[in-house]
Amino acid sequence: MSSASVEEYLEAIYGFNEKGELAKNQDLSEKLRVSPPSVTQMIQRLAEEELVAYEPYKGTQLTGKGMALAQKVVRKHRLLEVFLYEKLKLPREKVHDQACKMEHSLTDETAAALCKALDNPEKCIDDDLIPECSLIVESCDECEQARSKSAEHPLITQLSNLKPGEEGKVAFMRGGRHATQRILDMGLTPGTYFKMVNAAPFHGPVEIEVRGTSLALGRKLASQVYVEVDDKDETWKRPHPHGPHHNIQR
């Protein structure tokens, strides 16, 4: 399966999930203009790749990993829309299709550059929120430094997007200093591996397992913690965060 079509699916599912709905196969088939059987087939594949969680008769939801991928694509898409419409002055109705084609070939590096050129827009032309940048930056200058390091950025999403059973690694935090310090004090330091155990209904808190303890984290705090969800790395289970420079000495 081509990565472009995976991205298209994830993007479409994101569109439904964003409104708080599950993506039904029928809706996806209409939105993506493909036959229902191929939607079913594709969803199965995505589920095998652990990008989505599918509930029969209810619909599909992105996993944390799927969410991280989708956010990346949606971010590119919406940045491109802003660019095409506001800078290139393309007619509004043409912008969407063009962005759809360009988004798959845009590198992360270029997307970050585009973001800076557009002065870090928060909303796209349809007033939808552009998913937040997943770099550890607080300003566009820092962004410039960060993106010069590598062309492909790690898959990062908010902790609150992970589904029970998924694992992740803390990347960084956004939000108030007080709250950040508290999250750190409880052991969620950058580089820490954790497992999502449970999420309370009605947008309640999440329960995670970290450093051998269970921690409850309000949904708002959980959405301030950005986590890596890429599991290509074989050292995933290795719990140590900071590498080898620790020598216990007196």
Binding site: T180, N198, P205
Partner: protein, 636 residues
């Protein structure tokens, strides 16, 4: 002097209670709503003071508990710190141990709950751990009293021993610390290495102390911080915490062995308690049981006590005769005391008992987890659910229960919201007046109005209260059986504390009102209040006095109104609209005297008066509006 320090839920209080038995005193830290438990321990004829520091996760400035603890350790310099560490969550506990070592005290580690750790398949090598940390480690199972004699013995030896040495961080951080220490001249009770670390971390307290005396050092600190942040690519707070946890992780890995245990009944119960559906079922069942239990027991005891005091009253009047003077003495002196006893013993005692059991068993945390999103709608987070719910029975334990919130801000909002919840006494007025004479639907409407009020005022309090709001973040401790001895002792000491602090307010308050009644000032008050009670609220003039007395005990308003008007058939003296307005005002206007006393105890006079003032204003303003609305829609 020994000081117990450690994370929450590690069994610290159990050790404290085992060590001190009944020789303890529970009070507050000066000027803080933080419990301070002190006691004495008898070891081979020697009296040793023991203090139980609050359960915390860090020595930063996140919560009042943290600030209190670190000041105490540095300034009071206890002879030995007993760091209680949970063997089953060693890594996270050690991150705090490392922070304690930074303060360089004489220290002993109580490696507690080794039985639970073993059940979880975690084996800790005590000697290895002691070698890594450079302080003695004693394994204990506090709930069973195991290892405590050894612990005390080791602590006594440590008194004469050397101070603990901090563990070193990565070399770039150590360089930074060294450079700052060299320049540091200001004398403080804190070790200079610790000061340097806190300056690097940008700790507001320490910055204030140091930069005031040595402002020029700031540039140096900032420069060192920049270097470290540059190397790590993270903010300094994050770097330092990561370093500590990194060390904790290495040490815990070196000193523990894991085996995979079977899933126990405990694990299944834990899963059930946070299940998205069954968790709520279990929670509602437990809460109803607790609620019903406390208040049916409380009613029974209160009834019995009332009867006893009734007999005493009869005996009293039979002995001294019923004159104005004897009447006055009884009402002004004895009644205030009775009011306190009838509230404190029957309701607050059991409440403390149950709260302590729920807390120690680890279930309270699960309830907070489940109720978090609901509580956010009234400006609180999950932990605030318990106090607010208890408010339906009695506001006093609810206000006192607000302590389970971490910050002063959340505590205040929580207590404020809890004081608006219609307690049993207010329900008596609503049911006895509105439901009986106007109709049940109108009583329900009153409750609805109150819930909307709680929602709106909670939101406003959330907006106006100072400091940054903090969401829910807490440990979900594993379930365990609470120690009955600890629970019973803690309940007793808290209850005693409440009696000492709140009774004087109640008794004096009662006295003042009775003196005013005796001197005939109430008629004056009635006149003074009539613009509000009669003109604005449309109530009979007698309502003024009734509302004043209602501050003592709200259920009395009904009885008093009856006796002042000469009948208990309220339909003949009040119109339905008046009843509704009267019940509304009684419901909202001020928390009763016992609740005010609790507010004073927890937050000081000023905040207690602000809360009471706001509630009076809301009751009066809205009461008048409700009157006009009801008349407008044609209720007689």
């Amino acid at each position: 002097m020994f000081a117990l320090a450690g994370n929450a839920n590690v069994g610290k209080s159990v050790i404290f209670n085992q060590l001190t038995g009944l020789h303890q005193h529970v009070g507050n830290w000066p000027g803080k709503t933080v419990e301070r438990a002190e006691g004495t321990l008898n070891y081979q004829g020697q009296e040793i003071d023991v203090i139980d520091l609050p359960g915390i996760y860090s020595l930063s400035t996140y919560s009042i508990e943290e600030i209190v603890s670190r000041e105490y350790i540095a300034v009071e310099q206890p002879d030995v710190i007993i760091n209680v560490v949970d063997a089953s969550t060693l890594e996270r506990n050690l991150a705090f141990t490392i922070q304690l070592l930074e303060l360089q005290p004489r220290m002993v580690i109580a490696l507690n709950q080794i039985d639970i750790a073993e059940a979880k398949g975690i084996l800790v090598y005590t000697e290895e751990l002691s070698r890594e940390l450079g302080v003695p480690v004693v394994p204990t199972v506090a709930v069973k009293g195991a290892g405590l004699t050894e612990l005390v013995k080791t602590a006594m030896e440590a008194v004469k021993g050397e101070k603990a040495k901090p563990i070193n961080y990565g070399s770039e951080i150590e360089d930074g610390i060294k450079n700052i220490v060299e320049e540091l001249k200001a004398e403080t009770p804190y070790p200079s290495r610790w000061i340097a670390i806190k300056l690097l971390e940008g700790d507001a307290e320490i910055e204030r102390i140091i930069y005031e005396r040595q402002p020029e050092i700031k540039t140096k600190v900032d420069a060192q911080r920049d270097i470290i942040e540059e190397i790590h690519g993270h903010e300094i707070g994050s770097v330092m915490t990561s370093e500590r946890y990194g060390l904790a992780s290495i040490i815990s890995e070196k000193t523990t062995r894991h085996v995979i245990p079977d899933k126990t009944l405990r694990d299944h119960l834990e899963d059930l308690s946070s299940h998205p559906i069954l968790g709520y079922v279990l929670m509602i069942a437990s809460i109803l049981a607790v609620f019903y239990g406390i208040f049916s027991f409380g009613d029974w005891v209160a009834g019995t006590l009332d009867a006893v005091f009734g007999v005493l009253q009869t005996v009293y009047f039979n002995t001294v005769g019923n004159t104005d003077t004897t009447n006055f003495i009884w009402n002004a002196v004895v009644d205030g005391f009775i009011g306190g006893v009838v509230v404190a013993i029957p309701y607050i005692g059991p409440f403390y008992l149950v709260l302590s059991l729920l807390e120690d068993s680890g279930y309270l945390a699960r309830v907070a987890y489940l109720m978090d999103s609901a509580m956010h709608s009234i400006g609180l987070h999950g932990k605030g659910f318990i106090p607010v719910m208890l408010g339906f029975g009695c506001n006093v334990p609810a206000v006192l229960g607000a302590r389970i919130m971490e910050t002063e801000r959340e505590r205040l909002i929580c207590a404020f919201v809890a004081s608006l919840v219609p307690c049993a006494a207010r329900s008596i007025v609503i049911m006895g007046l509105v439901a009986t004479y106007v109709g049940f639907r109108w009583a329900v409407l009153l409750y609805l109005i109150d819930f909307i009020l709680i929602f709106v005022l909670g939101r406003i309090a959330y907006k106006v209260a100072p400091d940054e709001p903090v969401g829910l973040i807490m440990e979900l401790p594993g379930f365990r059986l609470p120690s009955m001895k600890t629970t019973a002792q803690r309940t007793w000491f808290r209850l005693k504390d409440f009696v000492y602090e709140a009774f004087p307010v109640m008794i004096i308050g009662n006295f003042v009102i009775q003196v005013a009644a005796f001197l005939g000032l109430l008629g004056v008050v009635e006149n003074l209040m009539s613009p509000i009670t009669v003109s604005w609220l449309g109530l009979p003039a007698a309502a003024g006095v009734v509302l004043i007395f209602g501050i003592l005990r709200k259920e009395l308003t009904l009885i008093l109104l009856g006796s002042l008007m000469g009948t208990t058939n309220f339909a003949t003296i009040l119109t339905p609209v008046q009843m509704f307005v009267f019940a509304f005002v009684v419901m909202v206007y001020v928390p009763c005297l016992s609740t005010i006393a609790a507010l004073v105890k927890e937050f000081g006079m000023r905040k207690a008066l602000i809360i009471s003032g706001v509630e009076v204003a809301v009751a009066v303003v809205l009461g008048g509006i409700i009157l006009r609305v009801l008349l407008f829609i044609g209720l007689p």
